[in-house]
Amino acid sequence: MAHPPLRVGLFVTCLVDLMRPRIGFAALKLLKGAGCEVVVPEGQTCCGQPAYNSGDRRAAQALARKMVREFESCEHVVVPSGSCSGMIRAHYPELLAEFPEERAALDRVVARTRELTDFLVNVAGLTTVPGQFAGTVTYHDSCSGLREMGVKSQPRALLAGVRGLTLKEMATPEYCCGFGGTFAVKYGEISARIADRKCDDVAATQADAVVLGDLGCMLNIEGRILRRGESTRVYHVAEVLAGVEDD
């Protein structure tokens, strides 16, 4: 290989760790396939987003500083989540403004943080992916990925390389799924109603699966699909790109 390998720190995210570890492994596989050297800093937990969005600034700061410490030596920080990468890039600078002595580390981490598909396309220059998928999928743009991280074309470009896969866009892929973190619990009825609109939109495409890049949206959309009694599958984009392994 002409270039030295890209050295990547993978921020797995707390939800992937707890709910869907296979997404983390899919991300690893894709990064390695793109010629990266990947480390997974051991002590990592959560970026602090739930606390931040709940108004608990102090808890959010503690977790954000912890994350920065754990990743400050990484050349690249890759996150398989639009909202967690958005939390770091769009909100850490404001959240940690009170800690000027940690500024340099913060700036480094912020500047080096990318959402997974964005990193694969725009930094690693990945063009071929191992995944195969016999069927039609539709892609949901998660709000933070789209509006904070500019993730729109990257997952689609990569999905186009998955053998057997056809992408059929839903009418309003950019429309919020209604998750909103603790909003989904505090205002469950409204949240589920918004999710229902998303499910209608997905159903209208008759796709076999809805693919997305954020665990929050995933739990919400999948939860509503299950309750509706539908069989549409819900996958994280990394799973489809790396090759789906249902358990």
Binding site: D56, A62, C143, F183, A184, Y187, I190, A192
Partner: protein, 481 residues
Amino acid sequence: MTEAAQEAFSGTGGPGTARPQGGTFSGRAHDKLHDAKVQRAMRNFNLAAARSRAMAELPELEDIRTAAAAIRDTALADLDVWLERFETEATRRGVKVHWAETHADVNRIVAAIAREAGVRKVIKSKSMVSEESHLNAALEAEGLEVVETDLGEYIIQLAGETPSHIIAPAIHKTREDVADLFHQHHGTPRKTGIPELTMEARAVLRGHFLSGDMGISGGNFLVAETGSVVLVTNEGNGRMVSTMPRVHVAITGIEKVIPTLEDVACVLRVLTRSATGQSISNYVTLATGPKGAGDADGPEEMHVVLVDAGRSTVLGSDMREALRCIRCGACMNHCPVYQNIGGHAYGWVYPGPIGSVLTPSYIGLENAVDLPNAATLCNQCGVVCPVRIPLPDLMRKLREKQVEAGLRPRWERAGLRVWSWFAQRPALYALATRLAARVGRLLGGKRRAIGRLPGGGWTGERDFPAPQGRTFRELYARRPR
């Protein structure tokens, strides 16, 4: 408590108070989610599509948004100086300028103007500020007849309701509702065609336009350079109320001032497109004083009421950016929460994202605890706002203030504290999540879905997908090397 909030809870509940509607946000939202008529009306409502078509034709959009925000910021930065300039220019043109510190002052000032001018009938064009102060009720208590003339406002006045949207106040009403209201109040045969209903309203309201003694309008902008009040309408009622009656009173917040006529041109380009998707509204009027010597038409008196009622407090807070608002409605039109529950669930004058910021700011954080939280922070509102108000950031700041003020429920605070305690201790966190992953997996059973969780917030109308059963951390430690 802010002054406005004290007023809200002074217990009278009468005109002139800023009071939230009864009940809870969640309760009202629940009712609206199960009100088939509201749901049908909300599905019909699509100003968002009109906006996006209009914006597609404006390649300079982002630059104009930046410029519009800068114009508003310029005015806010030296607000008192701009207001005095406006006052000087308007006064020079014969306008009587009044200053209202509170909502009660608004009502008192307008009632006094009416009394002195011997007014009997008041015709009103849309004014959200007058909704804040319940002006109609106050004037009616003075024995005045008050007629709303914006078609939507007229409909809800007949229905005895409040607006559910700042530019489409009756959007929650169906044509059937309107048919019933007109039949009942006009004593005419019931008709359900929208054109026929519109024509009937035109005929009835035309009579009022020709017989009103006093016209009340809001003011989209105040132009400091010329002392003019800018009125933007599509129906023409803004022109009517500022032209036909003997007295014209424009009521507007102190934040509405902008420097020059050129600024009017700039801000209008994004206001009307953001609101209704039009490149300009049908009528834009600059009213600068009463009629002059030789004028055959126009009011004999013109008054402007400049309203504070909490705005100066917001100016000095970290909510200042909200004062840029030009009331286009785009944030609510694009809000997934608003689109599902409509405006009334928000409980006060301004619904949607901007309402979730303004309501707690104007009537007190403790009187609108739900609003800043009742949002997914999807930021569709921030993306469309023509003056770039970072609405989700402001809502998040309000959430922080609630936590600081101890306004969040105890279970929520405790939950966050426990969770963040663990999340800062990786070894314990690893244990806790191992356990949670296993329990979750078991609860999920064969369906891999949890149908009921404590509290029921999540699982009322959704399942919770079960975790895979092992954490990433565990599996990664055991990975083949």
